[in-house]
């Protein structure tokens, strides 16, 4: 069902929270009045371009910048040696840090500009600053780099192979870390007693985020007061400020990071890259504004990629269909260096989700992280959770098939019971709330499951192959509390901060430390605050994305903004109401405990005619002519909200496809999604997030994948070669929702930003596998190109002696079809 949006003016104040109002961001965005980073034009701006390694792995013998420096319009050319020579006080190593630790982590140096070695195609070698953008790019061609090439490895298994060339002196065998979760002994025992063991082996391919706006920054330094301002494409300005401060040795309080309008991120703008640091350094060095805007080619080469897993898994399951144990072994591609939060992604964000929606009595997972000659791999929409859900839901598909059970009944049999929440899994997390059968029931109705099976049978008789695929996903958002994050290795707290400020005239500005980049926080946060304060929606303005304006913040990623940022705003608003109540009580000459607050009005209990509006109280607070004793003037409050736990959205996605075994083409007949993201602040925005997430998940299933040649050169380095889905590639999506509020935050929200991306890939793969069951195909490697599908069908047919009669696949899930 498509949600109809409404004009906020048509919504009663009391109903604003939960209304599908139109976004207030849109007028600027649809009239050309948005301001993205490249739109910022400061006087006397110089432009920077970065020379990048053309090879995936090489020693750099020499970098000759002389000719480039001599070019007209070139302000300066800088290499690693120049950084080291810079007049920055202190001993600044100009290394890009990693902000997540694991006990076994082999941390390695990541120089801001290459220090005698490049480790991926695109590694930064030198920076040119010039009067014009085009001149800076021209000058790159005049720099002469003497490379001594080395062997490259781009997949984890290659890099971990004993013969592989090592990337770093500090990481023997290219091992970034070894990590495990769950109970190995218990799991082994479960397998020893298992009736059946279902095997699975598959890759989860590397993906390139492709936010439509390339990364960019404008850095401006004022030598008079030592203030360094960096306007940049960021999802988390305060985190970037802290990290940039360390990288550059510039004091944090003299550094401002501001996110102008940001054109999408999907994770790629969380991370602390070298490029923005180089621009900031250059601005200090040349003492004028420096602008750097990535070309699309540069985003392909340097934006942190996502996924990159090689996994084998086994499920122990009884003859009756009860899951007994689950064992997973994953090799994770970390790329050439450790990106900001990279170590968390294939470990804590992956392993903890391996119980899916199921009550699994024993789980053990091991993950080995590998340094490889690809760009650093870090969070991309979903970040660890899609990889987990993919493994779990593919295995569920294969297990049901092996047991000859209906995939729906198999899943239902193993769902965590509604009565078992909060539910502690075998992989260290406690699910907050859930009713996993509800979205499943709704989805089955949407696709008319019984009718489908009849149609499928009939179609097969006609030589047409329909398939249905289920994905019952779980997501974890708003990683918290900070104490737990610290125990898991985060070098940061994962609270969120906000400030709610009444102005003397009665309007409000709400500041929040998250940093939206398309999610519509300006709208949803205003809905939250207006609701809490009982004032008109249009009287609330929202400010995000500026370290000079907002007390502090951790940013927008991991579907955390509503659950953590939104809740922080609730807490700040509650404090504002509490103070206003004491002022109202003073005015009433009543005990604050006798004063009630509803719909923006304070009144004395039992005397409704004695009332005062919160806006009047705000005005009085600033006049401060008659304040209660020991009460300061003004009306504003700040919170640092640290949640009690993660929140766990869930849902069921169902893909219905037809596969042409002759051509390998896949076409969608239906895509139905039922998501439970807890309470919804704005259902239209929720719908948009689900749609976009599904499109990216379908992209992974069918189209997308970073491919490297034997030399480690990216062969999918443009939009021509890497298939970002177009309008015709994405199916019509039918979306519904159920609502199971989270008990862990005052809004009862669960988060929605990543759900679709987490759910979709395996729904589509399972549908294709279901369609091709008569050919003995139990899976196809992603992206499921027509060629791969054809090979799966025809390769299998040949191996089985040309049989097309549905010969059972004896190694279901083994190496069948996946790789």
């Amino acid at each position: 069902m498509s949600i109809d949006s409404v004009d906020p003016e048509d919504v009663d104040a009391a109903d604003i929270l939960g209304s599908a109002i139109e976004r207030r961001e849109d007028p600027a965005l649809v009239t050309g009045n948005a301001e993205y980073t490249d739109d910022i034009e400061l006087p006397n701006t110089a432009h920077m371009a970065i020379l990048r390694s053309r090879y995936a792995h090489a020693t750099i013998e020499d970098v000759d910048t002389e000719d480039a420096e001599a070019m007209d319009g070139v302000v300066g050319v800088f290499t690693h040696d120049d950084l080291a020579r810079a007049d920055t006080p202190g001993d600044v190593p100009f290394l890009i840090p990693v902000a997540w630790q694991l006990p076994s982590l082999n941390d390695v140096d990541h120089p801001m500009l290459a220090d005698g070695r490049v480790r991926y195609q695109g590694d930064a070698i030198a920076a040119v600053v010039a009067e014009e953008r085009a001149v800076a790019r021209d000058a790159l061609d005049a720099i002469d780099v003497d490379y001594e090439r080395r062997e490259a490895a781009t997949s984890p298994s290659e890099a971990l192979d004993s013969g592989a060339s090592e990337l770093h002196g500090d990481a023997d065998g290219n091992v970034a870390f070894d990590w495990e979760i769950g109970d190995e002994e218990k799991t082994e025992a479960a397998f020893a007693d298992a009736d059946n063991v279902v095997e699975f082996e598959a890759d989860n391919q590397l993906l390139i985020p492709n936010a439509m706006e390339p990364r960019a920054c404008v850095a401006d330094y004022n030598p008079g007061n030592d203030e360094l301002e960096v306007f940049m494409t960021t999802q988390n300005p305060h985190v970037h400020r802290l990290l940039l401060s360390g990288v550059l040795g510039h004091p944090e309080h003299k550094l401002r990071v501001k996110a102008p309008d940001v054109g999408g991120g999907f994770g790629s703008k969380i991370h602390n890259y070298a490029d923005e640091a180089i621009a900031a350094w250059a601005a200090k060095h040349v003492e004028r504004p420096v602008k750097w805007v990535a070309t699309r080619s540069e985003t392909y080469l340097t934006d942190a990629q996502g996924r990159g897993h090689e996994t084998t898994a086994e499920l122990a399951v009884s003859d009756d269909g009860d899951i007994q144990g689950f064992r997973v072994d994953t090799k994770a591609n970390m790329g050439a260096y450790l990106s900001t939060f990279a170590p968390a992604v294939p470990t804590w964000l992956y392993g903890t989700l391996l119980s899916g929606q199921y009550d699994i009595p024993a789980i053990h997972a091991t993950v080995e992280g590998a340094y490889t000659n690809v760009p650093p791999v870090d969070a991309y929409r979903g970040a660890g959770r899609p990889e987990a859900s993919f493994v779990v839901e593919r295995v569920m598909h294969l297990a049901a098939r092996e047991l000859d059970m209906d995939p729906v009944e198999f899943r239902r049999r193993n769902f965590v019971d509604d009565d078992d929440f909060p539910f502690e899994t075998e992989v260290a997390v406690v699910y907050d709330s859930g009713e996993y059968g509800k979205p499943m029931d709704e989805a089955l109705e949407m696709v008319d499951y019984e009718g489908f099976r009849e149609r499928q049978e009939q179609a097969r008789e006609e030589g047409r192959y329909l398939g249905i695929g289920f994905s019952c996903y779980i997501e974890a958002c708003g990683l918290a509390p900070s104490e737990l994050a610290g125990q898991l290795g985060a070098q940061a707290g994962l609270w969120e901060s906000s400030l709610v400020r009444f102005h003397p005239s009665g309007t409000v500005t709400a500041f929040c430390g998250t940093s939206g980049h398309g999610q519509g926080h300006g709208t949803t946060y205003a809905q939250i605050v207006a609701n809490e304060l009982g004032i008109p929606y249009e009287d609330v303005d929202v400010v995000e994305g500026d370290t000079d304006e907002i007390p502090h913040g951790m940013g927008t990623y991991g579907s955390r903004s509503a659950a953590v940022g939104g809740s922080s705003l609730v807490k700040s608003a509650e404090k504002v109401v509490e103070k206003a109540k004491s002022l109202a009580a003073h005015q009433f000459e009543a005990d604050p405990e006798d004063v009630e607050f509803a719909d923006g009005e304070f009144h004395v209990a039992g005397a409704p005619d004695r009332s005062v509006g919160i806006k009047d109280v705000a005005q009085q607070s600033y006049l401060a002519h008659d304040m209660p004793e020991d009460t300061e003037p003004g009306l504003e409050a700040t919170s640092f909200y640290d949640p009690d736990n993660f929140v766990f959205p869930f849902g069921t996605h169902v893909a219905v496809v037809e596969v042409d075994p002759e051509s390998g083409e896949i076409s969608f007949e239906q895509y139905a999604a039922v998501d439970d993201v807890g309470n919804q602040i704005n259902p239209k925005i929720v719908e948009g997030q689900i749609h976009g997430g599904i499109a990216q998940g379908v992209g992974q299933a069918l189209y997308e994948g970073a491919e490297y040649d034997d030399n480690g050169s990216l062969v999918t380095g443009s939009m021509q070669d890497y298939a970002v889905p177009k309008a015709e590639h994405v199916p019509e999506m039918e979306t519904e929702s159920t609502t199971t509020p989270s008990p862990h935050n005052p809004l009862g929200v669960k988060g929605v930003g990543e759900a679709g991306t987490i759910a979709a890939p395996q729904a589509v793969v399972n549908a294709v596998a279901d369609a091709l069951e008569p050919f003995g195909v139990d899976g196809v490697e992603m992206p499921m190109t027509a060629e791969r599908v054809w090979e799966a069908v025809n390769g299998r047919a040949t191996a089985d002696g040309g049989s097309e009669d549905g010969t059972a696949d004896e190694t279901a899930g083994g190496d069948g079809g996946e790789r």
């Binding site: 009239t31 993205y36 490249d38 706006e213 021509q720 309008a727 994405v730």
Partner: protein, 182 residues
């Protein structure tokens, strides 16, 4: 560096400017004339963020040289309508939540305007085909399709009234060299 004196009529205003031979139309619009509503996403005609109407046809300004556009009439997002006088396509995008980050939106809207000018009553499939050369990473396209249909409905309902004039006359010419990708 050789420069050329050219004239561009942008959103009804004539501009005389001097550009290098290699200056791309999008940079002439953005950096010389200040029309920063037109975005650059790929500099290779593939993403469509830079789409403008050039002599009435949707055209990717990142692979059009400014000198090629000499004498042309150009419509950018700034010319569609302000916040108090939205063009139907702008209304459609807002009402249907056809945008999230907004980066692809100016180009997406101008391609849609071109479509609706040629086909005032497109099917959903025709909309999807028409915007094939414009990539969006946020929305999954469904609400963009709805937005274009919403605009088409508004136009039909107002029967070509003045404030939904999508059929204004441009000097014709085969300006579309395939850059549109549709």
């Amino acid at each position: 560096m050789t420069t050329h004196d050219i004239t561009l009529t942008v959103n009804g205003t004539d501009h005389d400017l001097s550009v290098e031979s290699r200056t791309l139309l999008v940079y002439a619009l953005r950096e010389e004339l200040g029309y920063t509503g037109t975005n650059v996403g790929c500099e290779s005609s593939l993403c469509g963020a830079c789409t403008v109407l050039l002599d009435g046809d949707a055209m990717k300004s990142c692979t059009t040289l400014a000198v090629q556009a000499d004498g042309a009439t150009i419509e950018t997002v700034e010319g569609l309508g302000g916040r108090d006088d939205f063009h139907p396509i702008q209304t459609g995008f807002q009402e249907e939540h056809g945008l999230q980050c907004g980066y692809c939106t100016p180009g997406m809207m101008l391609t849609s305007v071109d479509l609706l000018e040629e086909n005032p009553n497109p099917s959903d499939e025709e909309v999807r085909e028409a915007i094939e050369g414009n990539l969006c990473r946020c929305t999954g396209y469904q609400n963009i399709v709805n937005a274009v249909q919403n605009a088409a409905d508004q136009m039909a309902a107002t029967d070509g009234g003045e404030d939904v004039d999508l059929t204004r006359e441009y000097p014709t010419g085969d300006g579309d060299d395939g850059g549109e990708g549709a």
